[in-house]
Symmetry: C2
Subunit: 242 residues, 2 copies
Amino acid sequence: MPYFRTQNDDHPYSPPKPLYEQVKSYVLKNMESGEWPAYFQLPSEHTLVREMGISRMTIHRALRELTQAGYLERIQGVGTFVAAPKKQPKKIELREIDDIIRSHGARHQCDVHFLQVEPIEPDAAAMMAMTAGEEVYRSYFVHRENGLPVMVEDRYVHPKFMPEYIETDFADTTADTHISKKFTQLSHSHVIQAAVSNAEINHFLELETTTACIVINRKSWLGDEIVSVARLVLPGNRIQLT
Amino acid sequence: MPYFRTQNDDHPYSPPKPLYEQVKSYVLKNMESGEWPAYFQLPSEHTLVREMGISRMTIHRALRELTQAGYLERIQGVGTFVAAPKKQPKKIELREIDDIIRSHGARHQCDVHFLQVEPIEPDAAAMMAMTAGEEVYRSYFVHRENGLPVMVEDRYVHPKFMPEYIETDFADTTADTHISKKFTQLSHSHVIQAAVSNAEINHFLELETTTACIVINRKSWLGDEIVSVARLVLPGNRIQLT
DNA sequence: GAGTGGTCTAGACCACTCC
DNA sequence: GAGTGGTCTAGACCACTCC
């Protein structure tokens, strides 16, 4: 009856898995084999306690963890069910530019074209949820990979949240890293577009002809307040996102 | 002494939070206030049991869940510590094109330009981990938002995994949705680039001039085997990723 | 040996659902 | 009222670390 509590005799020195892990494996195995398909009602905790000879708290922990992981759904007073198949969202991670460059085995370098206080213009004010003419910090960086420009970063920062921003030395750090270090609770939203380069971008990226670029608009939020907005422009022929 | 077990007198009808949730809140509150900074060693379970008048299993559950969530780190025989601040990765979700279009309140439509068996060409073979000349399924779709073309989808599918692919009716579903339904364990990798449209893309997207486009290369994996590779081309002036 | 966290038990009381 | 899952306890044994 206690067919659990298995020792692994092939590897006598490996410690046995905890009972709750064995229960989790047992449930997952039944799901994978098709024995317990989607929407199937599992045996009750009480039944599993009897059948497996394991105490209810241990059974409960296993089922709770599988529920937290999305494999099961539990309804008090009703029962435990195999969760409906959920299509996992296709996500990509937007890594920091210096990370990307270093992962190429290349040298990252950042030119600070300006870092100043200015009255915010109406369209930027709308993005920052500020009123036109208010003072805002603005920075304009060009990031280079082994000397070759690969990204323009045009950024607005709300002085309320980061009064020290315009006095920061960005030789060793990037603006994103700096902001993320200060606010660990930061969240981000992004809009990604493609556009051809204009004269300004051609100049700063040292492009000779009009070039297709990836344009990322990144807003950084602290709760429902906007800390910073950045427009990142990457030439499509020099760099890609993975 | 049992300063926990608080009833919320302002909302007398709301049930009190479970004790383990109260312990979690207590720990998080101390972390947020700066009382317990990063790397701080928390009181031991035994101490918390004494101080809070709550049983060890309940204390343990609270600390375990905070550990799983990344707030704490625990070392057996040593203690419990506030985790080092972790910068959360900046992720974006690549939603299905029909989802995006429908979220605009628009009508999605898909033209099937071809859906056929062909001998795979060398460069596509390399992407699919097949050998040149092997038979592969290839489809070429144009997705439209209220009639306007917004995405070209040029896709290779491995016949071994999806023998039924070329007989599928893509009037009601998209290839991605179809593949994801069949294989719930699918994982994906993406490369995103910007490029200007060529004559082929101009034709299928009904573009009159050369246009900057987002190009997404999506590989779909089942374990370490490639099921499908798709090249998605989206005109930058008609659609964006959020 | 003292202190830490990791696991497990047998039992309890409860809210909830279904009949 | 019977059955379900949600929580909580008091106690136990253990592996591990540090001295």
